[in-house]
C-alpha cells in the first residue's frame, strides 16, 4: 500500500506547462529518487505535491487521502514535509528558533522540546550552534538545519530537493550518513538529486524525469547499469 501516489499529474506556471502527466508511487519505508536533467520538472514535481504549485489535472494522494485543494501550510500537519532546493533557512532566526518553527505542526510546546532533543541527538553540531543566527552556518550545516527543521514536524514522508547542491563531497557523505540513520528509523524519503550516483547508491528505486514526463523507472540497482541515464544527461 503506497504512502504517496501521484497520478497523471499536470502542472506548471502561467502559460508554461512543466509536468505533462507524471505518475509515481512511494511505499512506506522506501527511499525513492527522482532524477533527470535540468529543466525536466523535478523541483516543480515536489512543489506541486507540497501544494506550492496548483495541479492542473491529475492528483496526489497521501496516506490514502487526496491532497487536492489542501493549502500548502496544512500539508506538513498531515505528515508530508518538503525541504526545498537551496535550503531556505530563516537567516535571521537562530538555529533553535528555526527548529522550533519547524515544529509548528506539533500539538504543544513540550512536544516541540522533545522533538528538539531528537534533532540535537541526530545533528550534534547544530546543538553547538543552537543560539547562532542561521545565516552564520556553513552550507553543509544549513542543509543539516533544514533537514532537522523538517524532522521537527514528525513527518511520515520527507521530500528533499537537491540536498547535495553546492556541498563538498565529504559533507555530502556526512549528509547521506545522517539520511541513512533516518531511513533505519523507518522514515520514507522522496529524493530529488543532481548527484546521480550518490542518489542511486542510496535509493531503493528511482524515476528519471525528462521534459516533464517519466522517461525511465526501476530499481536503483538496474538504473545504475543503464546507459540511457548517461545519454539523458549528456545528450549523446
Amino acid at each position: 500500500m503506497s504512502l504517496l501516489v501521484v497520478d497523471d499529474l499536470r502542472a506548471g506556471y502561467g502559460s508554461l506547462e512543466v509536468l505533462h502527466g507524471v505518475s509515481l508511487r512511494v511505499g512506506p519505508g522506501e527511499v525513492v529518487a527522482v532524477l533527470g536533467p535540468n529543466g525536466a520538472g523535478k523541483s516543480t514535481l515536489l512543489r506541486t505535491i507540497s501544494g506550492l504549485v496548483a495541479a492542473r489535472t491529475g492528483g496526489v494522494r497521501f496516506a490514502d487521502t487526496p491532497l487536492a485543494g489542501v493549502p500548502a501550510h496544512a500539508i506538513p500537519h498531515r505528515g508530508l514535509v518538503h525541504v526545498p532546493e537551496a535550503r531556505h533557512v530563516f537567516a535571521l532566526l537562530s538555529v533553535r528558533e528555526n527548529l522550533m518553527v519547524g515544529g509548528t505542526p506539533l500539538p504543544s510546546r513540550d512536544a516541540r522540546l522533545a522533538a528538539l532533543d531528537d534533532v540535537w541527538a541526530l545533528f550534534p553540531m547544530l546543538l553547538r550552534k543552537a543560539d547562532a543566527p542561521a545565516a552564520s552556518l556553513s552550507g553543509g550545516q544549513q542543509q543539516m538545519l533544514a533537514i532537522g527543521r523538517a524532522l521537527m514536524a514528525g513527518p511520515k514522508l520527507l521530500m528533499l530537493d537537491e540536498p547535495s547542491l553546492g556541498l563538498a563531497p565529504v559533507v555530502v557523505e556526512e549528509l547521506y550518513a545522517a539520511l541513512g540513520k533516518l531511513r533505519q528509523r523507518g522514515l520514507t524519503i522522496l529524493l530529488v538529486e543532481q548527484d546521480v550516483h550518490t542518489a542511486l547508491d542510496f535509493a531503493d528505486r528511482a524515476y528519471v524525469l525528462e521534459n516533464g514526463a517519466i522517461a525511465l523507472a526501476g530499481s536503483a540497482a538496474a538504473l545504475r547499469e543503464d546507459p540511457h541515464v548517461r545519454e539523458l544527461y549528456l545528450g549523446l
Binding site: 502559460s15 535540468n38 553546492g166 546521480v196 550518490t198 547508491d201 548517461r230 545528450g235
Partner: protein
C-alpha cells in the same frame, strides 16, 4: 502604409479632443457663469491629468508630486509679473522651463540608477512638500499668506472679464496637451513608452534608452503642469502654498487619471469628465458641510473601486469588455512579403574572434558567482554554454548584455571593451539577448513588439520593413496581430528571437529558448538557428536540453560552480571526465 493599430490610436486622440470641446461647448451654451466655471475647472484637471499621464501612465513612472510643477508655474509667473511686470505668457514659459528643470533633477538619479518606481514616486512627493514648506517660509513669495495677482483684464495679462474667456483658454491648453501626447503616442515614442512600461529589462535589451525617454516624458509633464499653474494663478487671482503645491492636488490628479484609465489617451479626459460633475452635483444636492466634502469621499471610493475591480480604469475596463465580446478579428492576411534576401556570407577561412571574455569574475556580496572565466566567441559559430544548476550561466549572460558589471576582468567586442556599458548601448553595438521569461510586452501585439525593437535605429517606414521581414523569417507573420499574451509557448520563444533580430545584431544571446518545447517545436527552433548562422549571425546559447545543444552547437563551454571546466567540440566535451562528474556525480566518471 499605415501601421496596424495606428488608426485606432488616431481615433482615440480625435475622440479625446472632441470630448474636450464638447464639454467646453456644452458649458458655453448654458451661458451660465456657474457651469462655465465648473467646466473651466474640469478642463484644467483634464490638462493636468493628460500631463501626468505622459510620465505616470504611459511610461509607467507614477508621480505623487505633479503639484510641485503646477506650483512652480504659478509662483514663477506671479512673482515675475509682480517684480518685473513680466507678461504672464512669458512668465508661463519661464515657469515651464523651471519646472522642466526641476523634473529633470528629480528624475536624474532614480532613472540613472534604475531605482524602484516607489522611490521615484516618493521623491516627487518629497519635492512637492519641500517646495510647499519652503515657499511658506519665504516672505518675498508671500509665505503662508500667499500672493495676489492684480493685473487688469486683457489677453496680454491672461485675465478676462468673461468667465468664457478662461474656459476657451483652458480648452485650448488642454487640447494642446492631449494633442501633443497623442501625436507622441502614435509615433515612435509611443512604442518606446509602452515597451518601457511593460518590461523595462526587455526594452533596454531592445536598445531603448530608458533614461532619456523617461526624462523627456517627465520634462514634458512638468512643463505642461506648470503652464496650468500660470493659468490658475491668473484666473483665480490668488495663490498660496497649500492651494497650488499641496498634496491634495497631486493626489487628485493621479486619482482622476487612474480612475479614467492611466496609460490610455482617453483616460485623463474621461476621469475628470465623469468625476468633477458628479462631485459638483453632490455638493449642490447635499449642501452644507456634507456637500462640501462628500465629493472627496466619492473620489476616494472611486479610486478604491477601480483598483480592486477595474484595473486599467474606466477606459481600460471598457476596452477589455469590448475586445472580449468580439473575437479577435483576423485581418485578411495579404501574402507574406518576400523573405529578405541576404547575400551569402563567404565562409571565413580564418576564424575571427568576435567576443573576448578575459578573466571575468562576479561577486554578489559574499558569494563568488563567477571566477576567472575566459573564452572566445568566434564569428559565425554557434556556441553553447552549459552546466549544472547554479553554475553561473545566466550571470554570465547578464554581464555580456550589460545588465551587470563584472567585479573583475574584461569583455571585448570587435576589439572594444563593452563591460560596464548599459544594456541599450550593448544592444546598439550589435549584441542582442533574449530572456528566459517570455511574454516580454504583455499589452503589445506580436508585430508591435518587433516593430518597437526596429524603431530604435530606424524611422517608422524603414522599421516597418524590417519588422515585416523579421516576422516572415521567424514564421510569425500569420500571428502578427495577436497579443503577446495570447500566443503559444513556441511562438513566444520565436518572438523573443524576432525581437532580438529586429535590432539587427551581429551576435545573438539566447537564454534557454528550448525549455518546455515539444520534440517537433525543438526541431523547428534548431532549424531556425542553423538558418540564422548561415546568414552570418553568431549565436551564443544557454541551454539545458542536451540533445538540442549537441546537435546544433559548433563548440561548447561548460561552467560548474562559477568556473569554466571545459571548452571544445561537443563530442570532446561530453566525454571529458570533469564534465561527466559535474553532471552525474563523482562516481560516474569512473565508468
Amino acid at each position: 502604409m499605415t501601421l496596424p493599430g495606428r488608426h485606432a490610436r488616431r481615433v482615440e486622440t480625435a475622440l479625446a479632443l472632441a470630448l474636450v470641446w464638447v464639454a467646453a461647448g456644452a458649458a458655453l451654451l448654458t451661458r451660465n457663469a456657474y457651469w462655465i466655471s465648473v467646466a473651466t475647472t474640469l478642463l484644467m484637471w483634464v490638462h493636468l491629468c493628460a500631463a501626468w499621464n505622459a510620465v505616470g501612465g504611459m511610461v509607467g513612472q507614477i508621480s505623487f508630486g505633479n503639484a510641485a510643477f503646477f506650483g512652480i508655474g504659478a509662483y514663477t509667473s506671479t512673482w515675475l509679473g509682480a517684480q518685473f511686470g513680466l507678461s504672464p505668457w512669458l512668465g508661463m514659459l519661464a515657469g515651464g522651463t523651471l519646472a522642466a528643470g526641476a523634473g529633470w533633477c528629480v528624475g536624474y538619479l532614480p532613472f540613472r540608477w534604475r531605482l524602484s518606481h516607489l522611490v521615484f514616486a516618493l521623491l516627487t512627493m518629497t519635492l512637492a512638500f519641500v517646495l510647499q514648506f519652503s515657499v511658506s517660509g519665504i516672505k518675498s513669495l508671500g509665505g503662508t499668506a500667499g500672493l495676489f495677482i492684480n493685473a487688469p483684464t486683457s489677453l496680454g495679462s491672461m485675465r478676462f472679464d468673461e468667465p468664457a474667456g478662461y474656459l476657451i483658454m483652458i480648452a485650448l491648453f488642454a487640447s494642446l496637451t492631449v494633442l501633443v501626447v497623442g501625436l507622441l503616442f502614435q509615433g515612435r515614442r509611443g512604442y518606446f513608452w509602452r515597451a518601457a512600461r511593460d518590461n523595462e529589462d526587455a526594452a533596454a535589451a531592445a536598445g531603448i534608452d530608458l533614461f532619456r525617454i523617461k526624462q523627456e516624458a517627465l520634462a514634458f509633464s512638468a512643463f505642461a503642469s506648470a503652464a496650468a499653474g500660470t493659468f490658475y494663478a491668473q484666473q483665480i487671482g490668488y495663490i498660496d502654498p497649500h492651494s497650488v503645491l499641496g498634496l491634495d492636488i497631486a493626489i487628485q490628479i493621479l486619482l482622476f487619471a487612474v480612475v479614467g484609465g492611466a496609460g490610455t489617451q482617453l483616460g485623463p479626459v474621461v476621469g475628470p469628465l465623469l468625476l468633477v460633475p458628479l462631485g459638483e452635483a453632490l455638493r449642490l444636492n447635499l449642501g452644507g458641510s456634507a456637500g462640501a466634502t462628500m465629493h472627496q469621499f466619492f473620489y476616494g471610493a472611486a479610486l478604491v473601486a477601480v483598483i480592486l475591480l477595474w484595473p486599467g480604469g474606466i477606459v481600460g475596463g471598457l476596452r477589455k469588455a469590448f475586445s472580449a465580446r468580439r473575437p479577435a478579428a483576423l485581418a485578411p492576411t495579404p501574402d507574406p512579403p518576400p523573405p529578405r534576401t541576404v547575400a551569402p556570407q563567404p565562409v571565413a577561412m580564418a576564424r575571427e574572434a568576435l567576443i573576448e571574455i578575459a578573466g571575468i569574475g562576479k561577486r554578489f556580496g559574499g558569494l563568488q558567482a563567477l571566477h576567472e572565466i575566459s573564452f572566445t566567441v568566434y564569428r559565425g559559430e554557434i556556441l553553447g554554454v552549459i552546466g549544472p544548476n547554479g553554475a553561473g550561466k545566466t550571470t554570465l549572460f547578464s554581464l555580456l548584455a550589460g545588465f551587470q558589471s563584472p567585479s573583475a576582468g574584461q569583455i571585448s567586442y570587435a576589439g572594444q571593451r563593452i563591460d560596464g556599458l548599459a544594456p541599450h548601448e550593448v544592444c546598439r553595438r550589435g549584441i542582442a539577448r533574449t530572456f528566459q521569461i517570455t511574454q516580454a510586452f504583455p499589452t503589445l501585439t506580436v508585430f508591435d513588439t518587433v516593430l518597437t525593437a526596429a524603431l530604435v535605429r530606424h524611422d517608422v517606414a524603414a522599421a516597418q520593413g524590417i519588422a515585416d521581414a523579421v516576422l516572415a523569417r521567424t514564421g510569425l507573420w500569420p500571428r502578427r496581430s495577436a497579443l503577446c499574451a495570447d500566443i503559444t509557448l513556441a511562438e513566444q520563444r520565436r518572438l523573443e528571437i524576432a525581437r532580438a533580430l529586429a535590432t539587427e545584431p551581429t551576435v545573438l544571446l539566447l537564454d534557454e529558448s528550448m525549455a518546455g518545447l515539444t520534440a517537433r517545436e525543438t526541431d523547428e527552433a534548431l532549424h531556425l538557428l542553423r538558418g540564422l548562422r548561415e546568414e552570418g549571425l553568431t549565436i551564443v546559447l544557454i541551454e539545458h536540453v542536451m540533445r538540442a545543444v549537441m546537435s546544433v552547437c559548433d563548440r561548447l563551454v561548460v561552467l560548474d560552480a562559477g568556473k569554466l571546466i571545459a571548452a571544445g567540440a561537443p563530442a570532446t566535451v561530453a566525454s571529458d571526465p570533469q564534465v561527466i562528474r559535474a553532471y552525474l556525480g563523482a562516481r560516474a566518471e569512473r565508468k
